[in-house]
Symmetry: C2
């Protein structure tokens, strides 16, 4: 197959993204061609586009790494995948190196991230390695009333906090604090709750707090309206009132801002776990020794190993994680407008760009 | 028994420590009286004494938490311990609370640290809970040519990095970088090597580097003579030359200084583990998001659970960790002079204060 396709290219920092026609190449032995159903717009894309964070692949490049779609062509080793609905992992490990063989695909040195190492998902089609593809059961999907495009957000916004929650070892009765309940943090809160944690949500936006309060958070706090000390005392009082531990909190930092990271670090207590989920180029000023004094830890995770995608998908299909109410779909052709709106903070839900086929 | 005893009291920041006679009280049911063989002088003691770091117990207080000695009296539930040689854990968990029951003694809210929560080891005698005492086989000790006083350093200088190495999961073939090879870091290097790591030592003192180079470090680097970038390149070249991994380094930060912590954080690479072993009140400026970008982690540990003391002691008794060549003994009566010398950086080995009985 050599379908005619369109991808939107970034040519330079802040330059309008431009549509480019291309012929999808014949996939290699271990590759597939995917007709894209949807691709989520992530904070990371904005980092490349507005802040000049460098992509590994030189410009021009198609951004976008939250991809779902249908396999429309395959290489000779990947024929099993033809016509299947899939989610493409945001980080595709090579599957064969020393790190991959030890189950550490997220630190694979040969990994491919669409929209960073290879052309990404703001396109009608994409060619990707077959490694790590996550199949979607379309019958269950239809029964759940979810569209395939909605599932694109699983590739980062859902699985990245999923991996964080798994790494932190959240279990029933834990107190989990999610700092920043936007596109990623909203899922972090739902996942932590699905793992049995009582969830405290912190944000600076009352609308987002109200939304997550309805969904799963037992306590919501606006960080604009109280200082760190008061936040900590409020959560401590809540923990006591609920009979939860007054230490060993799990803090999921999802704001990806300097202030947010400093707040999250300041919430550390004995035996606490800080998960650094959000990203910012900014440095922070923290007393690192508090990790020692509290016997605490700070864990980072770069995406999520593909092996965990089916578990995260299952939570979506069985309704423990809601995606549709946190997503809004826009035509791919409106990408420049949507980027601006996301950057300006005008959207309350995660934008998913949907191509017209 | 009500032996007459002496303990050296801290009455205020920088005030001369003063000897005070006291009668050792009858031990409670679950307590023992220990005739102290030696007590190590730790960076933490100097923090209380020179920098005004607050002790949990109000002043006047006897400092010192690295204690070895003989049990000379016991409560009714602790009679098994009479006459035994022991190491007192630097952090004594209560053994009964929720955290202790889950094996997390270092975050026990009722823990007692000698020289912080209760009177410490710069004394002829001390009364401590029996919980967590580590017995020493005096026959093996004599056969190894080690004195009981030397073993005092196990209670912090050895077991704290021991716990860090266990937490980091160091295993054969790992590359471990020890930043600061003084009183604690020297043991960190030996323990990492005993667990099979190839050890790179970083310090600002050539004498300490030479000593650890003879002992166990395969590469020694003086951080005064090269910037962070060069340090990283040098270690990378070394790793390549040795056929070791170019990622997943374990960095044991033992300097307990702002500059040292920033250097250690700067050495993070993919899948790396930073162990925060040294303590400083200073804040540091770091890009916390690198934990996310590198899928790395920073682990702190407050001392070491008593359950691990026998393993650490075993490494000393079987010669894998040398203590005698890293220790110098001084009479307890010279405590004020020794504190000054340690504070001025005049001693190359860890000072252990030995009372005259």
């Amino acid at each position: 197959m050599a379908a005619e396709a369109i991808r939107w290219m970034m040519t330079g920092k802040g330059e309008p993204l431009v549509p480019v026609r291309f012929e999808t190449p014949s996939p290699g032995q271990n590759e597939v061609v995917i007709e894209i159903a949807g691709c989520g717009v992530c904070h990371t894309d904005l980092g490349y586009y507005y802040d000049g964070v460098r992509t590994n692949h030189e410009l021009p490049l198609t951004l976008g790494h939250e991809i779902s779609g249908h396999v429309v062509d395959t290489g000779s080793n990947a024929m099993w995948w033809i016509d299947r609905a899939v989610i493409v992992p945001a980080v595709i490990p090579c599957g064969h190196c020393d790190a991959c063989r030890r189950g550490k695909g997220t630190i694979c040195a040969n990994q491919k991230m669409p929209g960073n190492d290879i052309h990404g998902g703001f396109a009608t089609h994409i060619v990707v390695p077959v490694q790590g593809l996550c199949e979607v059961d379309t019958h269950r999907l239809a029964a759940a009333g979810i569209e395939l495009a909605d599932l694109s957000v699983i590739a980062d916004a859902v699985t990245t906090p999923y991996q964080a929650v798994v790494q932190a070892g959240i279990s029933p009765g834990d107190l989990a604090i999610v700092n920043g309940v936007g596109g990623v943090g909203g899922y972090a809160a739902q996942i932590a709750a699905a793992f049995g944690a009582v969830v405290v949500a912190i944000d600076v936006n009352d609308d987002k707090l109200a939304a997550i309060g309805k969904q799963c958070a037992a306590l919501t706090l606006n960080a604009r309206k109280m200082n760190l000390r008061d936040l900590k005392m409020e959560i401590l009082g809540f923990a006591k009132g609920r009979g939860l531990r007054e230490s060993e909190w799990v803090i999921l930092e999802c704001s990806g801002t300097r202030v947010g990271q400093e707040t999250a670090f300041g919430l550390l207590n004995r035996g606490a776990t800080l998960c650094v989920v959000g990203f910012t180029m900014d440095k922070v000023e923290v007393r690192l020794s508090n990790l020692m004094a509290f016997h605490a830890r700070a864990l980072g995770n770069w995406g999520c190993p593909p092996e965990l995608y089916p578990q995260a998908l299952e939570l979506v299909l069985n309704g423990r994680i809601k995606v549709t109410s946190f997503v809004e779909k826009h035509p791919l052709a409106e990408i420049n407008h949507v980027f601006e709106a996301v950057h300006a903070g005008e959207l309350k839900r995660r934008a998913v760009l949907v191509p017209t086929h």
